[in-house]
Every structure is written in structure tokens, then in C-alpha cells.
Amino acid sequence: MHGLVNRAIQRFVTDSYGAAQWRAATDRAGLGFSEFEAMWSYDDAITPRVLEAVCDVLDRGYDELLEDIGTYLVSHPGVEALRRLLRFSGVSFIEFLHSLDDLPDRARLAVSDLELPDIALREHAAGSYTLLVRGQLPGCGHLFMGVLRAMADDYGALAFLEHKGTEDGAEVVAVTLLETEFAEGRGFDLGARAG
């Protein structure tokens, strides 16, 4: 798994629970190190092992941990760059949803060896969608649910999200968009640069 993914998990745990808990998790996973390099590649087996160790150390369920990581990635001030990059995908939450199919390609344009889950959006009726997430990491549907929840907030939209389990190897997330202009949203200044 790409270092960026592992690094994101590390930052989530250290920012939310402290460096000591992160070290406890990496010790428990038997990594032999506690700092992931964002631009290195790691063995795919490492990521689930680290996530399970984090669950044990924090005494939390795997699915809700992944959803929290997704939310953290978009809403935490320390990772503003990712939120900005996602906001380039569309001017409204609906446009953003429709651009999710492009997300793996967008990621590859930025970092050529970064492989994100394959995402397909199906629209059933106005405001009613399902998202099919197919990725290497178990529970990546939950992670995307966290991302979507935070992005809806960011755009000021009101959306209801529900994980519907797995179907033909893809995790299914139901998205019901109740209101597109529910709140003010955070705004997006094209010219600003994330620090």
C-alpha cells in the first residue's frame, strides 16, 4: 500500500489520540518502526495489520475507525491540502458525487503510483444514489462514507449515508441527498494554497 495511505492512518491516530497510542499500535502490529514515509511503498499486508492493531489499542470497531479516518482526512485542519484537492472536483456536492468516478485517475495524475479504490456512482432518482467502492483495503467503503460525510458538510449539503454491506466484491454505500444548500459550507477559494 502506498505510503500516503499508511501515513494518513498514522496522522489520524497521532492527531486524535496522541503519539503514545500510535507507538503502542505500531508495536502491537510488530512493525519495527513507527514513522511511515509518505512517498514510499509498503507491503500491502502491513496496512490491515496496523489498522487492526489501532482498533485493539483504542478499543474501537474496525468499520467506525475507518469512517473516522475518512472524516479526519477531509475535515482536520492539518490535512487541508486533501480537502482542497477534492474541492477541485466540483462546484457543488452533486457535481462532486458525479466526479468520484474520476478520483483514482485524479490521484494518479498527482502521484503516479497511488492507487485509490475504484468508485462507481449510480443515480436512482433525484437525490438518491448508491456508491460502489472496490478497493484493496477491507472497509474502504466505510472510509469513503467518512469522506463523503465531511465533504457534504464542506459543501453545506445535508446528506444521509448508509453502508449496505458488500455486493459482488464491492462495498455499497447508499447516499440520500436531502438538501443541497442546507448550510453555509466552508467555501473554496481557488487561489488560496493549503500550507
Binding site: 495524475l109 481557488l190 487561489g191 493549503a194
Partner: protein
């Protein structure tokens, strides 16, 4: 809706950064993004050349000359602050005797976004500007991460080099390793002999046949010294063509001298390299720890160097014991 309004409406969607110049040379209509260039009021009614300075392919004085530039790529500078450079193209139409000039920011778009506080809605849906801004930002973030990684790797490399005990070319020990072993022998009170070896004529090999030949000679020399010593002895490259051999154990002088002579004799055998014959020899100066009451590293190294100097001065290709030098040539008490 009049035909004129319909035309302008289409242009506003397809190319929101355009201006339409009428027969009088004044701006008849401006797209919503182009309107942002003139922040003091309405762009319409202003003379085109008062707002836009066409610099290439050539300056124009009025609308008629603008028609003549139809289809050409225009380099334009805004006459109002912040004087952004624009790219443009002019075409006749959409009304008779009108010229439409479509504009773009070109490479300065990143700055222009901030100047005019533009959003995604200011660009046509098919315009790739937003994708370009995404790429600029994504690549900058990725580059920054790589840059930080590189700096960390470089620091780690420097730290590793500082701790290294091996000479990268020959695989022999380096000065640091030799110093450590010598210090250990002395503090443990163990017996040893120390040889300081200098290659003769090595510079000539480098100068005549090049550095590849020089490197080949150094590898050969390293192999000879490893062959002629035991596994527990220490062979170190301590300079370009300078070596130190630390022989452990209580060797008598004859044995040390035999080893030295074997090394010299093998090194004087010509070394072929890619059709050339490299000829070197070696000068050696030695000390035995048993010559000292209480040896120190500085002293034995200095004395071995003195003996080496004597070998060189007396014609090279020879071995000298420091203890056999005339007493007045000996710089220290024995």
C-alpha cells in the same frame, strides 16, 4: 430575445472571457469573466485599445486593424493594474462589422485567480483551467513531500557515511576502523605490528592511464594485502594510495619483515589493465608494539610514518623498521 442578445448569451457560456468590439472600436459586449478586468464600472462603451494593449503580432490603432489580425494568436497586456498578460484570438462577428476577441490568462492564470478572485464558475465548463489548478496544487504537494523525504534520506546517508568503517572502493577498512582497532589493541595491552604502506608511482598510473586504471590497481593492491595477511589482521586504506596493516600477536621482526617484503615483491609485478601495463611498487615503514614500554596510537603512527619516509627517501620499494633507524633519526624514546 433579439438575435444579438442570443449571440452574446451563447458567447457568455462558451467563452466567458471574451469581448465584442463594435464598428466604432468600442466594446459592445463583454463576457462575465472579462467584465472583472474593469473593476471601476462597465467595460461596455470603452474603447478596446484603451483597455487592451495588443503587443504581438503588432499594435493596432482601431477595430479595422483588429479584423486584419483575425485568427492570429494575440499577445495582449491589460492597460489597467495589475497589467496582466493575456493571450487572445480575434474573429469577425457575430454581428456585421463586429470583432470578437476571446481571451485567456495563459500561464499566469494562478496569479490571475487571486487578482480577480475567480471561481470555477468563471470558466467555461469545458475549460481545463480548474484541472490545471488542481494539478499545480497536487504536484506541489507531492513535490514537497518528496523534497522532505529526500532531505531526510540525505541526512541519513551522511550519518551512515560518518559511521561507515569500510572504504567503498576496495572494501578494506577505512581510517576510522583502523583507529578503533589500534585503540582497542593498545588499551587491552595486546601485542601488534603496524605497517604504514605507500604506493610508489601510483600518481603516474592515474595520470597516464586514467582513474579507471588507478582504481583497478588499488583493487589489485588490496587483494595482495589481504592475501598476505591473516583473517584477524586489519588492512585499512587510510588515504588515496596509503594503507595501514595492523598485524596482531607477538610477531618477531623477521616475520614482520618477511610479510613486508612479500607485499612489496608482489606489488612490483606489473598489473595489466585494458591493454596497458601499470607499474607501481610500495614503500613500507613498520613498528612493533614490543619496542615500546607504553605505546600510544599517536606515537606508533608517527614512528611508522617516519620509517616509511626513510624507505621512500632511500630509493623506494623497500621496508624499514623504525627501531633500526639511527638513534638521531628516531624522534622518540624507545
Amino acid at each position: 430575445m433579439s438575435e444579438q442578445e442570443a449571440c452574446f448569451g451563447m458567447l457568455d457560456v462558451l467563452c466567458p472571457m471574451h469581448v465584442v468590439v463594435g464598428p466604432d472600436g468600442r466594446i459592445a459586449h463583454a463576457g462575465p469573466t472579462a467584465c472583472k478586468f474593469w473593476q471601476e464600472g462597465d467595460l461596455r462603451g470603452r474603447k478596446f485599445i484603451e483597455v487592451f494593449d495588443i503587443r504581438r503580432p503588432r499594435p493596432v490603432a482601431d477595430g479595422v486593424e483588429l479584423v486584419a489580425l483575425s485568427g492570429a494568436k494575440l499577445h495582449i497586456r491589460l492597460r489597467v493594474p495589475p497589467h496582466r498578460e493575456l493571450k487572445g484570438v480575434a474573429v469577425a462577428g457575430p454581428l456585421p462589422q463586429h470583432v470578437t476577441v476571446n481571451l485567456s490568462f495563459g500561464i499566469s492564470v494562478v496569479d490571475a485567480i487571486q487578482d480577480y478572485d475567480l471561481t470555477a464558475a468563471d470558466f467555461a465548463a469545458t475549460d481545463l483551467t480548474i484541472e490545471m489548478l488542481y494539478l499545480v496544487e497536487a504536484k506541489s504537494a507531492a513535490m514537497e513531500a518528496s523534497h522532505q523525504l529526500n532531505q531526510r534520506l540525505q541526512s541519513a546517508r551522511e550519518a551512515a557515511e560518518e559511521q561507515a568503517v569500510t572504504d567503498p572502493l576496495t572494501g578494506l577498512n577505512n581510517r576510522r576502523a583502523m583507529d578503533a582497532v589500534l585503540a582497542q589493541y593498545i588499551s587491552a595491552g595486546r601485542s601488534f605490528a603496524l605497517m604504514q604502506i605507500d604506493l610508489d608511482f601510483f600518481k603516474a598510473v592515474n595520470d597516464t592511464f586514467g582513474h579507471a586504471a588507478g582504481d583497478h590497481v588499488l583493487l589489485e593492491v588490496a587483494r595482495i594485502m589481504m592475501d598476505e595477511t591473516r583473517a584477524a589482521d586489519t588492512v585499512a586504506r587510510v588515504g588515496g594510495d596509503e594503507f595501514i596493516i595492523l598485524l596482531h600477536g607477538d610477531l618477531d621482526r623477521d616475520t614482520t619483515a618477511q610479510i613486508a617484503h612479500r607485499i612489496i615483491s608482489r606489488m612490483t609485478t606489473p598489473i595489466p589493465f585494458e591493454g596497458a601495463i601499470c607499474r607501481i611498487s610500495a614503500s613500507i615503514g613498520s613498528v612493533q608494539s614490543t619496542d615500546y614500554i607504553r605505546p600510544t596510537a599517536d606515537q606508533v603512527l608517527k614512528d611508522a610514518d617516519e620509517a616509511l619516509y626513510h624507505s621512500k627517501r632511500t630509493g623506494r620499494e623497500r621496508h624499514t623498521f623504525f627501531a633500526s633507524l639511527e638513534p638521531d633519526r628516531q624522534s622518540a624514546q624507545m
